[in-house]
Symmetry: C2
Subunit: 344 residues, 2 copies
DNA sequence: CTGAAAGCGCTAACAC
DNA sequence: GTGTTAGCGCTTTCAG
């Protein structure tokens, strides 16, 4: 097949028998074009297989796109990593004629989150949000979407909402992965396994727990799961809870920590002097969990790459705004498994 | 600090008291500019912190950059994946005003490889090559670099050569990772572990073996390593070798396969009826190793993402050609660990 | 050795 | 409703 140079706006205009400006109006859904003309333009676009040239678009665009990145307030390390990534992305975003601002909201309050999202209406072109799945939040997202704001959910999805993408991992699979690692590391001996999570109300935590229990029951039935402990993702709360667990269970074989608060868990483990005898698998690579892995306190860390997630979310948001193509492969977030040997 | 709009070529030209064209000449190292003028331009660039706008550059460029991707000939699945990725990248490359062509060369012959690389002189702007580390090859790479061709090594590095980047994983760390997985999966019982590699002459294989032996000796001394078997990365050769190994070692506890030929290894394992009793860790996720993982024949697959590697190699090559900035984080290839539960 | 000028494909202001 | 036109920041002839 001959390599035909790609069609330009000009070609489309000529084929449709209209001017550049009209084609532009149609392509951007601006009003003030007769229905018949709109159709003719669409037909020409179709027929020529027109795709806008992103380089030209960026060069010509005056106004830069505004992104809001809404993250949970608090001092969670992983969330800190995410917001750092936004800073790191600034120069790249500027080149794409875009700018992002991080906003913190109390994620445990659906009302606040929903209100905050509603306030973004018309203020920004796209919002990237780490949300919790709640009817109020869902409605706020649908509202934004209805008014033409692009919404991308991050880390924890709101599946039924009209967000244009979800960027994150399959948390059920992540839980299954944790179970396989824990089960195989512990080996064939009998024993009990503790579980620490932030809250059952968090969708990602619930999904991980589900996957974990599934594989444990099916493939490691000689291990008994203890009732999950809920520590609100905060070390001050997880530490005493885990300390007590260790006291109650002098032969604890393993520990799965589903959410944050790992600093507290590690401290309790260390204080008990049994860090080496309890196999510990947790999530998210932070300075603390990295240290724990290297020290042999943690045995495996299951991770989602914060940098990859933020880049992906921004790329997808911008692509949705401009109709640019994406490479789906590049946007798939992997479930990383880190041992002390393959740390980045 | 005030947000000063970035400096453009125009600003540089004005500051240096010359024209656009002259600045362009200096920036692209073209001849025909007085030394004093060159200096003045450089000073202006420095002083204004000028960075070219990639969008404008791509838009204006007539000629598109030519990339050659040189891969080993043969039917290795992983290499197949890499060359597929080049196809997948074509539309994106076209948008960047670039085009890539895959070329196959017998990688086990340094003479052929070196000759092939020499032939690329002046034919292409950049070459991405999966090379083997040999003085002839190193010289060929240095030669290309000396004549202004950008060279990126892929998967297996040629460290002392003047390539502009290496895209791939730390293979020593990958070998260590394999050892930890194998050691912990097998557990505290004594046993013997077989090793299959393509050839000791391949740099990446040798590095993996090194890392593997290191961790095995230090952390799993109750496991005895058998002498490595070399199967040239081909299933027809690995299958009988592994079959014989299994016959010789009726209690084999584990198997580490460092390179390709996994189809043959899996077949031998299955034929012996002992797949479930031998813990098997291998490299590179291909349709075959994925199947083996799901069937419980393989226990873990250590992977480098072919798509990520090829995208990265092309991005880095283009960035080197155009002086564009890269996000180093985005170009770091991870050592992926896949279990049956976290397959993509 | 150096400069002027014509675009690349698109957006956006303004005119009809 | 629709068309014209002036750039965006760079590359690349073609003249001096």
């Amino acid at each position: 097949m001959e390599h035909s140079p790609r069609a330009s706006l000009h070609d489309v205009a000529r084929a449709a028998g209209v001017s550049l400006a009209t084609v532009d109006r149609v392509l951007h859904g601006r009003a003030g074009v007769r229905a018949r003309t709109v159709e003719r333009v669409h037909a020409a676009v179709e027929q020529l297989g027109y795709r806008p040239d992103p380089a030209a678009t960026r060069l010509a665009r005056k106004r830069s796109a505004r992104l809001a990145v809404v993250l949970p307030a608090g001092t969670n390390s992983f969330v800190g990593l995410l917001s750092q990534q936004v800073q790191a992305l600034a120069p790249w975003l500027a080149e794409q004629r875009a700018a992002a601002a991080v906003q913190s909201v109390d994620v445990f309050s659906p009302v606040d989150l929903a209100q905050h999202l509603a306030g973004l209406q018309g203020q920004v072109d796209a919002v990237v949000v780490m949300a919790l799945d709640h009817p109020l939040v869902r409605a706020a997202i649908d509202d934004l979407a209805a008014h033409g704001t692009v919404v991308v959910t991050l880390v924890s999805d709101v599946p039924t909402a009209r967000r244009s993408h979800f960027v994150g991992i399959d948390n059920v699979a992540a839980g299954r992965t944790a179970a396989t690692l824990l089960g195989r590391f512990i080996g064939p001996r009998e024993g009990r396994v503790g579980i620490v999570m932030g809250s059952r109300a968090l969708r990602d935590h619930a999904e991980r727990l589900f996957g974990f229990e599934q594989v444990m029951a099916a493939e490691h039935p000689h291990l008994t799961l203890l009732a999950p402990i809920e520590g609100q993702d905060r070390s001050e709360r997880t530490e005493p809870l885990v300390a007590e667990l260790l006291r109650r269970e002098p032969d604890l074989a393993g520990l799965y920590s589903i959410g944050a608060g790992n600093r507290g868990i590690g401290a309790a483990l260390a204080a008990s002097g049994r860090a080496r005898h309890v196999t510990w698998v947790c999530h998210e690579l932070t300075p603390y969990t990295r240290r724990a892995l290297l020290d042999g306190v943690a045995d495996a860390v299951i991770n989602q790459d914060a940098g990859h997630e933020m880049r992906s979310a921004c790329r997808l948001a911008l692509a949705a705004l401009s109709g640019e193509r994406v490479l789906p492969d590049q946007e798939r977030i992997r479930i990383d498994v880190f041992l002390k040997d393959n740390l980045p």
